[in-house]
């Protein structure tokens, strides 16, 4: 028996057709109405961007909420007038590499915080929480000045290079992610890895063979969160990547609509959809982990 049947199951009604309908309306009908409204709110910008991407004229002024035609001219323009593929490859490189390395570094640290007791452990955990209140981009001035001199010694990690920006991103690898992971690691019974140790496993074997397979959901969720935030990162990238060829897709699209906002809107829309595509795909594959991963880490601290 659900909450709603308790509320609306009065015995005085005769169950005629009319009352059944009104019963349905009070119990479920209004919920469908609410969901239609919310879905419309969620969908209209998406519809607009799809319609603009297909719009044969490709301008903002001619774009409508409903598609008025279907043409791939905008996509063709985007591929031929801009270094789109380079931008796209850059974005994917940053998002994938950062997600993969961050997951590894975070999981290593979370394993130590969850399973071992050592001096400075509590300070380290609270320190991580506080330091991530000073997000990296607040130190953007310092990072800029720092890399001005690093670039003189090591041009391969200076401005306009992939490796330099990747290093900066990895500086934020241990953060709230480590907390999220530690929360999940704590839920794995200790007996499992302790018995493996009894059988003579090294700590590395316990970590790679026993722990990691058991915590896949949280690895997936952290990977997804890092992937999303890297693809959408703008501030550090805009300071770091100034060369047109070195830009990420986000920066490139910004430039496309900055130079000629009205005329390039169709091209921008195609780019926006393509930029969202990897996230949508990853999201689709990971969605069964998402709710579990987001809440379990949070509840357990």
């Amino acid at each position: 028996m659900s909450v709603d049947t308790v509320r609306t199951a009065p015995t005085r009604y005769r169950r005629g057709a009319g009352t059944r309908l009104s019963l349905w309306a009070t119990r479920l009908g209004w919920r469908h109405v609410v969901m239609w409204v919310v879905a419309a709110f969620a969908l209209f910008p998406v519809m607009f961007v799809v319609s603009a991407a297909l719009n044969p004229l490709g301008t903002l002024s001619s774009s409508q909420l409903w598609p008025t035609g279907a043409s791939l001219d905008n996509a063709r323009d985007l591929f031929s007038n801009t270094p789109f593929t380079t931008w796209y490859a850059n974005s994917l490189f940053f998002a994938l590499t950062n997600a993969a390395v961050t997951v590894l570094l975070s999981a290593l640290a979370a394993y130590a915080f969850s399973r071992m007791r050592f001096k400075g452990r509590k300070v380290g955990l609270i320190g991580l929480l506080v330091i991530q209140m000073f997000p990296q981009f607040l130190a953007i001035v310092a990072i800029y000045l720092m890399f001005s001199s690093i670039g003189e010694y090591y041009p391969v990690i200076g401005f306009d290079t992939r490796w330099g920006l990747l290093l900066v991103y990895l500086g934020g690898a241990l953060s709230i992610n480590t907390w999220l992971m530690k929360g999940f690691f704590d839920t794995v019974p200790k007996e499992l890895d302790e018995s493996a140790q009894m059988d003579g496993a090294t700590h590395a074997q316990v970590f790679f063979r026993i722990m990691l397979p058991l915590v896949t959901p949280v690895l997936a969720i952290v990977g997804l969160l890092v992937f999303i935030s890297t693809i959408n990162e703008f501030l550090l990238a805009s300071v770091f990547l100034r060369d047109t060829e070195a830009k990420t897709l986000g920066l490139g699209l910004y430039q496309v609509v900055a130079s000629s906002r009205n005329a390039n809107f169709g091209m921008f829309s195609v780019g926006a959809i393509l930029l969202s595509l990897p996230t949508l795909i990853v999201f689709w594959f990971l969605q069964r982990f998402i709710t579990e991963g987001l809440t379990s880490g949070a509840v357990k601290g």
Binding site: V38, L129, A139, G171, H203
Partner: protein, 516 residues
């Protein structure tokens, strides 16, 4: 002792991997030391050696098991997060800005060499303009060939020998190891910088360019005199005295030379935006809007997200999965692109919002229009996350609790308010705090939509939708004169505000006390 329980020797594969990784790391260390050695940076070499030593110690010792897992992440954290934070803090107490970047010696040599003028006995050089590294951004240098055909390289610090350069008959250098020779187009692009570039050659002389391929050595009109710590302009007779507190040379009328140096100004930057009326008014109005923005967005996404989660939280609803996919869609779209999309949807003339609603509102032109637009776009992007979290939290609360309350005579609202919500908040509070902290510094949310605008009519630096972070960014990178010191002070202030708010609320929600 941690680690004691584990087997003492790893497998053969483990050992091989370990040796391989350590070897790779050592190679990396050697690679890192080489340029530092060439540049004579012994502090840097010491640091690299210390890090390599630490890594060896941690991974070869049997007693440092937790460190083996923490070192990789912590090294990145130290170098690219903690060090920049400390650097930001030290910059925040200086006057660092364009015109105050280097030491006093550098400022003096810049003052002198920039006032160089040609004299009758000036020596001429064949000039090639080059850069260190990237032709667009690398430091400018002059590759010079004198009358005897000797080649030299000149940068902002002075002249040095250039060996092994390829020189053509006209005396122009066509190739030199370590320098990128600029094409005429690239020189043209950096002509502004070139005008302000001169190579000091000591005792009030310097080399400047005249055109693209010749340079001359001349005498400085402005000469520094150590005995009075002042610069004298030999043409006008003006005397500019060094002001150690402000880091620049001033004459009696209070005019300063444009080249200054970096000095410690203590808490001046902080005092400026707290007490200087002009700066304080923009700081406090931005801070107020910043808080309103973060609270409004966090509150609205929470209410909308929770309401949607509750609407779907019934066992017998059809199309649940379908609704879920639609409702979560904004979260799976790229927020960066969607901000730019929303910006164009709010366009006054062609925007789809005015079009569909039949309005002609100048959204980004008016203070409250822009603020409403920024909040609306962020609610659209943010509520799906709250919906996901709330759905998860609701599933963890047994339905029987709410039913029991209703059997005891509570109406549905009371049952939700008194029973379900408090349980829900236990799980949701840390998420709400994180969301607040995230939105407090949500750079993209404002920069990509309005760039902080519209600017207030009485204040040209602060906009109506500016957050502290966008204001900081504009101060540091977008104004005519970059005020790094002041921007760094703002960063430190933002950090203090966010961490005080977050840590107190986390403390009160007991999330921090449960660390074990």
């Amino acid at each position: 002792m941690p680690g004691g329980r584990f087997a003492r020797e790893g497998s053969l594969v483990g050992q091989v991997v370990k040796i391989g990784l350590l070897g790779l790391f050592t190679a990396l260390g050697v690679w890192a030391v080489l340029p530092l050695y060439i540049g004579g940076n012994w502090l840097g070499i010491g640091l690299v050696v210390a890090v390599v030593g630490l890594v060896y110690y941690v991974y070869l010792s049997k007693r440092t098991v937790p460190a083996k897992y923490l070192v990789p992440g912590v090294l990145f954290l130290m170098v690219f997060q903690i060090f920049p934070v400390l650097y930001t803090m030290s910059t925040s107490v200086t006057n660092m800005s364009d015109g105050h970047r280097g030491s006093k010696e550098q400022a003096i040599s810049a003052v002198e060499s920039l006032s160089v003028t040609r004299t009758a006995d000036s020596e001429e050089y064949a000039l090639t303009v080059a850069a260190v590294g990237d032709p667009e951004t690398g430091e400018l240098v002059f590759l010079l060939t004198d009358a005897e055909g000797d080649t030299q390289v000149g940068d902002a610090d002075g002249l040095s020998e250039l060996a092994g350069a390829t020189v053509e008959d006209s005396g122009k250098v066509t190739d030199a190891f370590g320098y990128t020779i600029l094409t005429p187009a690239e020189v043209n692009e950096r002509s502004g910088e070139l005008e302000e570039f001169a190579v000091p050659t000591g005792s009030g002389a310097g080399i400047r360019s005249s055109g693209l391929s010749t340079a001359y050595e001349g005498r400085a009109l402005r000469v520094y005199d150590e005995s009075c710590d002042c610069v004298t302009d030999t043409e006008t007779g003006d005397v500019y005295t060094a002001d150690a507190e402000r880091g620049a040379f001033y004459n009696d009328e209070g005019q300063r030379l444009p080249q200054g140096w970096q000095v410690n100004v203590g808490a001046d930057n902080f005092a400026r935006f707290l007490f200087d009326p002009a700066f304080a008014s923009s700081f406090f109005s931005i801070l107020l809007w910043n808080i309103v923005f973060a609270v409004a967005v966090t509150g609205l996404v929470f209410v909308v997200g929770l309401a949607v989660a509750l609407t779907l939280h019934v066992p017998k609803m059809r199309g649940k999965v379908f609704y879920r996919v639609l409702v979560v869609l904004p979260y799976a779209m790229s927020s960066l692109a969607m901000y730019l999309l929303w910006r164009d949807m709010f366009n006054t003339d062609f925007g789809v919002i005015n079009q569909v609603l039949g309005l002609r509102i100048d959204w980004f032109g008016s203070v409250w229009g822009a603020r409403a637009a920024v909040i609306l776009a962020n609610v659209w992007l943010g509520y799906p996350y709250m919906f996901l979290v709330a759905t998860g939290a609701l599933q963890a609360i047994p339905r029987e609790l709410g039913q029991a309350a209703q059997i005891d005579g509570a109406n549905p609202w009371q049952a939700f308010r008194q029973v379900t919500l408090p349980l829900l908040m236990v799980a949701m509070t840390p998420i709400l705090v994180a969301t607040f902290a995230f939105n407090f510094n949500n750079f993209n949310a404002v920069w990509l939509l309005t760039r902080g605008g519209p600017l207030f009519s009485d204040n040209s630096t602060a906009g109506a939708t500016d957050l502290l972070i966008t204001y900081t960014y504009r101060l540091a990178f977008n104004e005519a004169t970059a005020q790094y010191g002041y921007a760094a002070a703002l960063s430190v202030m933002i950090f203090l505000i966010v961490s005080v708010i977050s840590v107190t609320s986390l403390w009160r929600s007991k999330a921090l006390k449960e660390v074990d």
